[in-house]
Symmetry: C2
Subunit: 587 residues, 2 copies
């Protein structure tokens, strides 16, 4: 090794040792006869000292080192007179006796500091410099630690990690596939997996009753802010289990992770049906760090000639504890918030229950104080509370009120990123109706089983069928989802028919799976976690990009290596493909 120690290692006990350190020049300060230099590596920062009086030549050379130069410094560990309690190495410094420049550095395009002056685009272009910054480095270390602890827990639970192929087959269901032209089989393509779903089911058929994999998946979607074309999944499957067993096993995983990685004990793992989540939170991923659950008023507000309520399918509100002193301006802000196009509500009704017990609402001319008292009782509000009410079509209104609830939670400081409240949401609908294409889509995926008691409904009223499907939600974020799968060929066929597959399509796309079901497929189910998102949740931020070493931008482009890029005519020809509009000139 070029070094004897890292820059995070030396302590007071090491004083008088001769050491060699390697690292990057973080900054240097000249004080008359002395030069102090912070040398940085992955493990920390150590102060180097050069003395003009004892070694002027060396000190002069040191003063010529620029930021981010890589050096090897040799010297003696010495106790600092001016200790820095913020640094683990802050008790010591190195009196440098000689050094060597291992590599020079141009001036970096942004500062390598916790709070950098570099913008997103610049940081992505020079990601190798961005990764030197402490917050980004810590994210990568967190990710490594999490992956390691996940594997440790699952290994202890007899899961085995099996790699499934990356070059698979394109299927029309789900998101768009990335495809890979085959040179050896001209005119044919592989697809990159959106998930190893069918392969993990085949592994269950193969008898590996506890499988997992931390695995890259791919989706060619139009990217939203928080999506990446390639992302990482913790993919798990078990045989001979009920939903209860899955809950137990993966609560265990998440508890282990919080404990091992963050020192947090999660003792409570509540469960909520999809129907309850929608009814009480307006969302299938409720943030239960705070209450403020939905209170329905539909029954008690009708018939008072307030047209908005009279016409509404649903009148529903939340009670913001202690917010009765909100000003007119604050309430107007909330009204503007819910009227934003992304939320799209028509407006917001309020009922203020002042500390003195008086009531004031925006609909006083339709409802008398006795009637408003009834609202207060329904909300179980206390003096000092502010009730916020919305009305309209049920689904849309709940969705909008969910946004308002989250906004109020944030305003009231009820969404502390260091508090973690996980829960299971279960009993999801099996199917979603799509107005545009006039067909049902699988809400989870086509391999999810219906609840046994709902099977007859598949023929008569598919939209009402509940699935053996569940999501794990933490702090309003869906971190994982799964289901008990279909393991019967006939049921799988029926499911594909409900989804509009012609029999021959079903066979050509999923024949291999349905054939496998004929050879002793065990009952099985599983779950997949979004690993990037789980890391960002543990890291306390929302952006998954900060937890990916080399992410792509919103145009699915890697600006650092400048990819995607054109390939040669020769490559295209070998692959038997051409770019649309160019073939004509070539034949």
């Amino acid at each position: 090794m070029l070094r004897t120690h890292t820059c995070g290692q030396l302590r007071i006990a090491d004083v008088r040792k001769k050491v060699s350190l390697c690292g990057w020049v973080q900054r240097s300060r000249d004080f008359g006869g002395m030069t102090f230099m912070d040398l940085r590596d992955r493990y920390g920062i150590t102060q180097l000292v050069f003395n003009m009086e004892t070694n002027a030549v060396l000190c002069q050379q040191a003063r010529e080192l620029g930021r981010e130069f890589v050096i090897k410094a040799n010297g003696e560990v010495s106790e600092r007179s001016n200790k820095n309690p913020k640094l683990p190495t802050g008790d010591i410094e190195i009196i440098v006796e000689s050094f060597e420049i291992l590599n020079q550095s141009k001036l970096p395009p942004f500062t390598i500091e916790d709070n950098t002056d570099g913008g997103e685009e610049l940081r992505m272009k020079y990601r190798y410099l961005d990764l030197r910054r402490n917050p980004v480095k810590l994210n990568m270390e967190l990710r490594h630690r999490m992956a390691f602890e996940i594997r440790k827990y699952l290994d202890e639970q007899s899961f085995i990690e099996i790699e499934t192929p990356v070059l698979i087959k394109s299927t029309p269901e789900g998101a768009r596939d990335y495809v890979v032209p085959s040179r050896v089989n001209p005119g044919e393509f592989y697809a990159l997996p959106q998930s190893p779903q069918t392969f993990k089911q085949l592994l269950m058929v193969a008898g590996f009753d506890r499988y997992f994999q931390i695995v890259k998946c791919f989706r060619d979607e139009d990217l939203r802010a928080d999506r990446q074309p390639e992302f990482t999944q913790i993919d798990c499957e078990m045989s001979f289990v009920s939903q209860e067993d899955i809950f137990y096993t993966f609560e265990g995983l998440v508890k282990h992770l919080f404990n091992a990685v963050k020192g947090i004990n999660i003792d409570n793992f509540p469960r909520m049906t999809y129907a309850d989540a929608i009814k009480h939170y307006g969302s299938d991923k409720p943030d239960i760090r705070f209450g403020m659950t939905f209170i329905e008023l539909t029954e008690i507000v009708k018939g008072k000639e307030f047209k908005i309520f009279d016409d509404a399918e649903l009148v529903v509100g939340i009670n913001a504890t202690g917010c009765a002193d909100y000003t007119r301006k604050q309430i107007d802000e909330l009204t503007e918030f819910v009227k934003k196009p992304q939320i799209g509500a028509g407006g917001l009704i309020y009922l203020r229950y002042a500390a003195d017990g008086s009531l004031k609402s925006s609909v006083d001319k339709f409802y008398n104080p006795d009637e408003l008292k009834k609202w207060v009782e329904t909300f179980k509000a206390q003096p000092g509370d502010l009730m916020l009410i919305m009305a309209g079509p049920a689904a849309k209104t709940r969705k909008a009120l969910n946004e308002l609830r989250l906004e109020m939670g944030s305003r009231l400081g009820l969404r502390n990123p260091d508090t973690y409240k996980p829960l299971w949401v279960y009993d999801f609908p099996l199917l979603e109706w799509d107005e545009e294409t006039q067909r049902y889509y699988a809400m989870h995926h086509p391999f999810t089983s219906p609840r046994p008691e709902d099977v007859p409904l598949l023929q008569t009223n598919p939209g009402e069928v509940c699935a053996n499907a569940y999501d794990m939600v933490i702090n309003g974020v869906e971190v994982g989802g799964g289901s008990i799968r279909i393991h019967n060929r006939d049921m799988q066929f029926e499911m594909l028919r409900v989804l509009g597959f012609k029999d021959e399509e079903a066979l050509s796309q999923f024949g291999f799976l349905m054939n496998a079901f004929e050879y002793g497929a065990p009952p099985h189910g599983g779950i997949a976690f979004g690993f990037d998102r789980l890391c960002s949740l543990f890291g306390g931020t929302e952006s998954i990009r900060d937890f990916i070493a080399f992410p792509k931008n919103n145009s699915a482009r890697d600006v650092m290596i400048d990819s995607p890029s054109a390939i040669s005519e020769e490559q295209l020809k070998e692959l038997g493909i051409c770019l649309i509009g160019t073939d004509r000139n070539k034949i």
Copy 2:
């Protein structure tokens, strides 16, 4: 859980427990009033017993269960009168009280036994059944255990696992890339990585001084028997290290693996230069489980009018200890072996040193006994030995003699698959001259550094330059290879020029890396292991396919899912590509 125990779990201490087991019907035997059934799961086999006298209905139902049916059986653990010492569960059996068919099975297309009657093609098509067979299952478990222990060791050594992107950029150097058309950036393509080489180097620039990743890589090659289009690499890189540090660290990894996974202690890790390996073994991956090293005779055999030796650049042989009693027929077989087209030698000369001290050779008419005595001395042969000698152009002759040496090693039982002899081969040439394209290619890859003392030769005699490159070889198999890298922009540029890159090509392909070298790139080096191959070596077989859950065949096809396959016109259109020869009709 549907079960209380697995089929590998119950012991004599569990007698009288009420249990439920789930598994597959392996086989059943009817003995008059009794039916004995082997129930199999991933963990083992447990014997179920049905008794016609005590429960005729149940026993009759059990007799109707076919092979590979999945059942849940409930009953009581009982001591076996006829114990089976070969099974861990062989002391007990289950007196079944009830059972449930969880799924039926058609008759499998081949037997689910250690030695199956299924051929390769059939087993691949029904891979989910093949994976039920014990030897294949054990391979998957071995692979899991190895990956886990690799991560454990490297984590303890402060390595962090960082995921690098799968959608990267196509580069012309090396093997053919698999490419992925970009829908969002029409006419442009991603490439799948042949290795994360440049990314791991960027991670070193980023300051992560110990990186690893167990990662899928991709090569669009014409497949040989033992190649897969997608394969898994243990990819590692370190900063501030010399070759010595890499050797030490990864000897440690391999020692840990042998110890943790196979209980074998490796105490010796010899090193050999490339030049010595070629001179003494005729191969850069010598199998050192046995000696029989090359002895050169060129100097002492010339000038005796034996034209083959007189014309030969090299005369070289091996001494096969104790083989003097080989018959004429056996020697003829060896001669035929070396004359096979894959080996291509002209012939084989032998010198037999009989137990009685007499000498007999195939060239007795050119060499008198005194001259042959000299050969014997050079070989350090003993009475009873057989010397096998080849002559011709140096490189070709060494290559052929290497094959003969390995063949003799196998014939003499010197290549025990349970004996493991690793070594490092180092000081590889930097470049290889290719006659066909009349240019140099990088022997390892273009990022490998030349030995500092050889740098001046780059201009004058590039073929003579030695690289800081090394391979780890175990039992004649190259399991890993790496190098100390170039970390200087100018040197990287020069290297690419030597490889025939025009400056603008070098910049457009590798500009991001060379730019990164300008911002404080530390000295660094690394290694990559072929994980599939390492697994097969640990598993004691040669075929990597047996250690991949879902391998592709020699046409890069997955016969189980039938991939690659055609994709829809709509998909092609969205991607902006067409199949050659079809575009004309579409515009």
